[in-house]
Structures are given as structure tokens and as C-alpha cells.
């Protein structure tokens, strides 16, 4: 059933009795043409585009828990494309373009909201780095502009720009097209879209092994629901990538860290944009529901626990209270964690490990939500055609051997 104001009205009159399931709950078939491991946003988008653009209908997405329950369902939803390096601009801007039409593409309101993402500069080094981004982005046709502290305040009146604070705001870069999207809706929209194209989304179906034939090529996956044959497996499992790749004997340049976020109790609108500060390690936006959504840093150590230490959240909130002294009296409602897979250069890996039939899309770390449509789109292409397209090509694993890193971290860029 198409989603629209009319259908909501008509169904409402009928007591909402006829809404169909947004996706089926199929049992796995014995074999598929391809299997995507991980029903996060990236995995679901991959399946959707494989079906839609490559005509692959006999495919499945296997999810160990509930779809969208990984980082897709626990991130602070910041979307932007003003990255430093050309390769990054390529993929994040590709995603951004898809975001702009995504609600219609999926017939699902993913609430993509280009409310502006502002990054604060607190010292001269920040200014230099951010201006470099502004210039690089402008050249690539990606919007990113420099604001004085006063302009930053105008854009976000909640912001404290007084000069006498410990880390005064001395300027900011602003991507107006950046913003947020409703995390859950993204997963659900892609799931519904993929399902309608015939993709089997199989939840509660953990992949526990990858079977390889005599030639070493992938022949199927062991799962909680038994063996499923396939010659192509795309792993899109974020924090769990190392574990799954390990099943095929592949080591990865990844470490998995807990990353926390938290929300305040809901309040009437206080800020309409997204504000990020790398220097004091905090970022905040306000959701449509009214809660302030605040991102914290990663814990120091690797973990698969989806919880982090109190000191991390504490550290974030002291920074938030410095930047926005008016929020000090608000209260933290909930604090949770995800597991992010971090690469040495903080850029993703989209590639083919040396196992025929195995593909991997991972390493999005603390900032892959924004890439969801783009990542799924190019990865679908890779899994379907066997070769990466121009946007995905730079993100091979091989770069760690050759030294051609895409180092967004070193360039002192901000995560997320």
C-alpha cells in the first residue's frame, strides 16, 4: 500500500485495520544468488539497490537481531558531506544527493532535514583546518561556508560565543545542506523497499560461519537457521565485521569501539541546526520530538558491549554545558552505546578481500549513517558486478599496504 496523506486518512477512517506488514517475515530459502550479512541501513540499502538497479531478486539479508538494531538504530543521525579528501567527498556527496530524494524513492518519510551542520572552531588551528575544508569542498561543488562567531550565533542563538570562556568559539564552518534524518525510518524504508522488490529479510538469523569450497571460494553461510548456499556474500556488519570476516579467515584493519550517545528530556524547540565541536568533543542537535540528541566520544578500549563508561558521557556533557550554558538544567533521559568499527585512517573499506565471492563494506566508524544511501548504492554495484565503481574504488583494503590512506582523522576533521 502506497504511503500518502490520503492513505493515512482513508485508513484512519477504517480504524487503521488494513495496513499491511511493511516487510515479510520469510524463512530462509536453501540458496540465494547473493546474501548480505547485516540488516543495518547499509546492508538494507545494498539489498534494495541490488534488486532495484541490478535486477537481483533472489537475494537475502541476514540479520542476527532485529533489522536496524545496530548502529543504524543508535546513532545521532548527522548527515553531511563536507569531508576533506576528494575520495571522501565523492562518496559522501553521492550519499547526500540520494538523501535529498530518498523519502520519495522509498515512499517512506525518512525525515531528511537539511537544517545545517555547523562545526565550531575554537583556535587558530581549527580555523585553518576548517577553511581548508571550505575551499576544498567549494571546488568540488559541495556547499560549505565559513562563518564568523557572530554569524554562528545568529545561526544558532543557543550557542555561547562569549570570548571569556575556556574555549571560545572563534568561527565555524557550515554546511547548510547537511542535517539529520530519522535513523529508524531509514532502516525501515529500505527494508520495506527491498522487501517489495522480493528481497528476503531474515531477522534473528545470525551468521555463524562462512563455508568455502575447494577452490577457496564462498559456497554459503552457516546461520542460526541452518546452512544457506550462495556464491556471493556481502558483509555489512559494522562493529561485528572482524568477527564475520574471521569466519572466512580474513583479518581486517579494524578495531571495534563503544560509542555513546544520549538524549535529554524533550523540550520545546531550542535549536534548529546541528552543532559539532571537535575541540571540546561534543555535538548536539534537537530531534523533531524535542529531545536534545548528544553524541559522545568512543571509549578508549575495544568492546562489543554496547555500553560505555560513565566518564565518557560526563566529559561530553561538561563540553555541551560550556557551549550551551542554557542547557545545564535539562536532564539526561537515556544514554546508550553502539559498536563502531574503526579503520586506521577513519575512512571506510569497500572491497573484495582475497576470498572469491566475498565482499565487505565496513569501517564507517563513528560516521557512516550519513553515507547509508551512497554506501548501499555503490556496494550493490560491487556485489552485483564484482568490481567497484569509480566512487568506491579508492576504498580498497589494499590502501593499507600501499600507503595511499584517505586519512580524514589525520586531517583533523571531525568524525560523524
Amino acid at each position: 500500500m502506497k504511503f500518502s496523506a490520503l492513505s493515512v486518512f482513508l485508513q484512519g477512517l477504517k480504524g487503521n485495520r488494513d495496513w499491511p506488514a511493511q516487510w515479510r517475515t520469510p524463512e530462509p530459502k536453501a540458496a540465494y544468488d547473493a546474501i548480505i550479512v547485516g540488516a543495518g541501513g547499509h546492508g538494507l540499502a545494498t539489498a534494495y539497490y541490488m534488486a532495484k538497479e541490478h535486477g537481483m531478486r533472489n537475494i537475502a539479508v541476514l540479520e542476527k537481531g532485529w533489522l536496524g538494531g545496530g548502529n543504524t538504530g543508535r546513532n545521532t543521525t548527522i548527515v553531511r558531506s563536507n569531508y576533506l579528501w576528494e575520495e571522501s567527498e565523492g562518496i559522501y556527496e553521492h550519499a547526500m544527493k540520494l538523501w535529498e530524494g530518498l523519502s520519495h524513492e522509498l515512499n517512506y518519510n525518512v525525515m531528511y532535514s537539511p537544517r545545517g551542520v555547523m562545526m565550531l572552531a575554537h583556535n587558530i588551528h581549527d580555523v585553518q583546518v576548517f577553511k581548508r575544508h571550505v575551499h576544498a569542498n567549494r571546488l568540488a561543488g559541495i556547499d560549505n561556508e565559513w562563518l564568523t562567531a557572530e554569524q554562528a550565533k545568529e545561526f544558532c542563538p543557543l550557542l555561547n560565543i562569549e570570548r571569556n570562556i575556556r574555549h571560545p568559539v572563534i568561527g565555524a564552518s557550515l554546511q547548510r545542506r547537511g542535517g539529520t534524518a530519522r535513523h529508524d525510518a531509514v532502516a525501515w524504508g529500505y527494508a520495506r523497499g527491498a522487501d517489495r522488490l522480493g528481497v528476503d529479510i531474515i531477522q534473528n538469523c545470525e551468521v555463524t560461519g562462512i563455508r568455502r569450497d575447494a577452490s577457496g571460494a564462498v559456497s554459503g553461510v552457516e546461520t542460526a537457521k541452518g546452512f544457506i548456499a550462495t556464491k556471493r556474500v556481502g558483509v555489512v556488519a559494522a562493529g561485528n565485521t572482524s568477527v564475520i570476516m574471521g569466519m572466512a579467515g580474513v583479518r581486517m584493519p579494524l578495531e571495534s569501539y563503544p560509542l555513546q550517545a544520549l538524549v535529554s528530556e524533550p523540550v520545546k524547540p531550542m535549536m534548529s541546526c546541528v552543532v559539532m565541536s571537535n575541540t571540546v568533543h561534543a555535538y548536539m542537535s534537537q530531534s523533531d520530538k524535542g529531545e536534545l540528541v548528544i553524541g559522545a566520544g568512543t571509549d578508549a578500549y575495544t568492546s562489543y558491549s554496547q555500553t560505555g563508561g560513565l566518564h565518557i558521557a560526563t566529559h561530553t556533557l561538561d563540553a555541551i554545558c560550556e557551549l550551551f550554558p542554557a542547557v545545564r538544567r535539562l536532564r539526561m533521559l537515556r544514554n546508550w552505546g553502539g559498536i563502531v568499527d574503526v579503520t586506521p585512517d577513519r575512512s571506510p573499506i569497500i572491497g573484495k578481500p582475497p576470498v572469491p565471492g566475498l565482499f565487505v563494506n565496513c569501517g564507517w566508524g563513528t560516521g557512516g549513517f550519513k553515507a547509508t544511501p551512497g554506501s548501499g548504492h555503490v556496494f550493490a554495484d560491487l556485489v552485483a558486478r564484482g568490481e567497484p565503481n569509480a566512487i568506491a574504488a579508492p576504498f580498497t583494503i589494499d590502501r593499507f599496504r600501499t600507503g595511499r590512506l584517505i586519512d580524514e582523522a589525520a586531517a583533523a576533521a571531525v568524525a560523524h
Binding site: V243, M252, T302, P344
Partner: protein, 97 residues
Amino acid sequence: MLLIRCPYCEMERPELEFRYGGEAHVARPLDPMATSDDEWADYLYFRSNPRGLHAERWRHINGCGRFFNAIRDTVSDKIVVTYKAGEARPATTGEIA
């Protein structure tokens, strides 16, 4: 905040005094120039990142200053044992939460 037993101080101390140092027992090749690009990349970047027991380095940076190793369960974050740098990885029963 974890409590970590420093094998040099012989005392459990709060995580805030420590700096995490990544996977342990990733030995620097004795003759780096003799390694292949693949071997070198493996040393530099590739990590086991297990779900379960993980041998890892910590430094008691705001304490005695020493590096040491710990075996921690990355699911429960429980530290099973800590031992001094240079000591072999102790046998641990595969107790995973």
C-alpha cells in the same frame, strides 16, 4: 570506568589513570626493512579485534608509567588477568560472557 590491576603497582586502579595501547603481542619485526609490504601492513594495521578474550596493552600512564598487558573479555569488559610487558600471554580458560 574499569578497574585495572596494574602488575607493577600490584593494585587495582581506576581506568582514568591508564592509557589503552591496542592489541598486545603485535611484535615489531626485528628487521622491518626485510618485510614485504603485506607483512608490514599486517604489523601496522591488521588486528584480531576478537569478540571475546583480547590480549591488549595498557599503560599506567598517570600512575607508575609502565606498559603492561591485560586479557579482557570484550563482551563483558571483564579483565581476566594482567601481566607485565615482556611476559608471555598466560593461558586463559575460554570463559566468555
